[in-house]
């Protein structure tokens, strides 16, 4: 039997294929609980708040945000980077599952991918909404035109970013969707109403599970996962280039790409942990999402936390070692001891210190502790982006242009709005699609040859 790296079983108990199908599609087929309606109401309200904020931004102007002449990026890019980071877990799990054939990831993969898709959508919203002239966004695309033709600023990390985010979003949506097709077919076959049968039927592409299609399907998912694998590394690397390529102290460092990548995996896994614990609580899926899964994620988190901590230390060291006064100021005066000390230490404590508690087996096995730590990590990761963006911009080279940054209600509104979008998406997802890939789990479940009682065995063993 496959086990996680932690050694715990992937599926607790023995189940037949039918049982697996029943249990996993049950989350969709049963009437939703009260908490689901409450959650939908809350997240719809959040979406409405966000829509108002975005409407204000687009119609009145970016002046409704807390930005100013020196900090021209604020909550928009903080939240962008944060969401992108969260959006890293899904693809990572896919890679574990498909490229490294780590079967244990099957239970988490689909939810993590859904999370990725919604998180990347939320993230992608920010670079759009932060444009001064949103209606001219097509200028970023290199298309032939009658202006000369005038192409794009290919040197800009923002252009690379647009490519990276677009690619990542398209690829993760495709992976997610193709990963769902066999299960959509299952749902189609189980559908009780004509409408749901038609809808599932439409999206399941007439899937029936013929072996030839399975072959091509596996080839495709492997190729896609293979293509996604470098993306997981490169997307946040390119996001980090937005900062690393600039000249601003605190941004202009070569450590940013690996640091951002690990940070992204770290925050993504933390978010997966949060969501998984919540789902485990809400649905009878404890036999699929086992303590073994949670344990594995916790171990990844410890690793991430240590790398992050190392990155923080390295940044400080390099700033001191370089002797560049602007760097020294940003890291030691502004961040560690100055105006941004509070946020800096929140970041260090949340990301580098608290996760070390996971070394303790007791804490690793306590759902409450895990939930708390996973949430703390994402708070810490938000502060990390806050520190990187605001402290560097608000206090850069010339002290004359030093400013303070204060967010406005519109800033907050858009952030809350993205939470709304994310959770609305997630809630709809768990209502419409089996959270756990049924066909993947079946591979692990069902009657195996070795389970078969010999007296009933009518065929020769090969």
């Amino acid at each position: 039997m496959d086990t996680t790296s932690a050694g715990a079983p992937l599926i607790e108990g023995k189940m037949s294929y039918r049982q697996v199908t029943d249990t996993l599609s049950g989350t969709v087929e049963r009437k939703p609980a009260k908490w689901w309606y409450a959650g939908m109401t809350l997240s719809t309200l959040a979406v409405l708040f966000g829509l108002w904020a975005m409407y204000t931004t687009v119609t009145v102007g970016l002046g409704t945000w807390g930005l100013n002449n020196s900090t021209a990026w604020g909550w928009d890019i903080i939240n962008f980077v944060w969401w992108i980071g969260i959006g890293h877990a899904g693809t990572a799990f896919t890679i574990f599952l498909i490229v490294f054939r780590a079967k244990w990831a099957a239970a988490i993969n689909r939810t993590a991918e859904a999370m990725t898709v919604f998180a990347v959508m939320c993230a992608g919203l920010f670079p759009l909404i932060h444009l001064g002239r949103l209606w001219l966004v097509f200028f970023i695309a290199p298309y032939p035109n009658t202006r000369g033709p005038l192409w794009v600023g290919y040197n800009s990390p923002l252009f690379w970013d647009v490519l990276a985010i677009t690619t990542y979003l398209l690829l993760s949506v495709t992976l997610w969707y193709f990963g769902m097709i066999p299960d959509l077919a299952t749902m189609r076959d189980r559908a009780k109403t004509k409408l749901s049968r038609t809808i599932y039927g439409f999206f399941s592409m007439g899937w029936i599970g013929s072996v030839r299609n399975w072959m091509r399907y596996e080839a495709l998912t492997k190729i896609l996962a293979g293509l996604a694998a470098p993306l997981v590394v490169s997307v946040h690397t390119i996001v980090s280039l937005n900062f690393a390529v600039s000249v601003i102290p605190g941004w202009h460092t070569t450590i940013l790409p690996p640091y951002f990548f690990v940070g992204a995996i770290f925050s993504g896994f933390a978010m997966v942990l949060t969501i998984m614990i919540l789902i485990r609580k809400a649905f009878p899926l404890t036999s699929f999402i086992t303590m073994g899964h949670l344990n594995s994620i916790s171990r990844v988190l410890i690793f991430g936390s240590m790398v992050i901590g190392l990155a923080y230390a390295t940044e400080l060291f390099i700033a001191w070692y370089s002797g560049v006064e602007y760097e020294m100021f940003t890291f030691f005066k502004s961040r560690a001891t100055g105006r941004y000390a509070t946020t800096f230490w929140i970041m260090v404590v949340c990301n580098a210190i608290i996760p070390q508690l996971l070394w303790f087996r007791k804490i690793r096995h306590s759902i409450g502790w895990l939930l708390a730590i996973s949430i703390i990590i994402n708070i810490g990761m938000w502060y990390e982006r806050y520190v990187i963006l605001i402290s560097s911009l608000a206090q850069d080279f010339l002290p004359s242009s030093w400013v303070t940054f204060t967010p406005t209600i519109v800033d907050i509104g858009i952030y809350v709005g993205t939470f709304g979008i994310f959770f609305t998406g997630m809630l709809l997802f768990i209502r419409a699609i089996p959270m756990i890939a049924i066909f993947e789990v079946k591979d692990l479940a069902g009657e195996k040859r070795e389970d078969h009682k010999p007296d009933e065995d009518k065929t020769e063993k090969t």
Partner: protein, 183 residues
């Protein structure tokens, strides 16, 4: 045509796998098999290696060349603009863009190729070997816990083969053995 195809329905993959092995030994053509999950044993028995990876490789290589040519054209030939004192031919920049665009275009091309090859697209009708053979029945369960093997397909099986196929299926533990009925 009085020849008919046969469908065997199993509840485990290994039973079906055994049946297929025996059918193969008897040279009974296996049209297709349908499984609720990618049963690798059966796939190994029935399938050919997909050529999709080669297509991807070709697409990727082509894309790299195309994107490089495009970038060189826009940056150096068509409208050279000085950005921050950098040379027009800014190769490090090109690498990143080529990298991203290669992944993007290769993946899109691969998905399109997959769809073209399998004929799968949203809204497509269910396409199983039974239907393909002209039988209008829909034999469900293959997306749940049933494994189906179709023999004979559109041409059907000759009487002799029909007989032995049924036997093998039955012996292998098939839950049901059905005949494909053409309407």
């Amino acid at each position: 045509m009085n020849q008919k195809g046969i469908i065997g329905i199993f509840t485990t993959d290994w039973q079906m796998s055994d049946a297929i092995k025996r059918l193969r030994e008897k040279n009974i053509p296996v049209t297709d098999a349908v499984t609720p999950f990618p049963a690798h044993g059966i796939m190994k028995q029935l399938g050919k290696e997909s050529r999709l990876p080669f297509f991807s490789l070709a697409a990727g290589t082509g894309t790299i060349i195309l994107v490089f040519a495009f970038l060189y054209y826009i940056a150096v030939i068509d409208y050279p603009i000085i950005y921050g004192g950098k040379p027009f031919f800014a190769f490090p920049t090109f690498v990143i863009i080529i990298y991203m665009l290669t992944i993007l275009l290769t993946f899109i091309l691969t998905v399109l190729a997959f769809q073209a090859r399998t004929g799968l697209f949203p809204g497509k009708e269910i396409d199983d070997p039974v239907h393909r053979a002209g039988d209008e029945r829909y034999i469900g369960g293959m997306t749940d816990d049933r494994f189906m093997v179709a023999l004979g397909g559109e041409e059907g099986l000759s009487g002799e083969m029909h007989e032995s196929a049924s036997t093998i299926l039955r012996e292998s533990g098939a839950k049901e053995i059905l005949e494909i009925k053409r309407s």
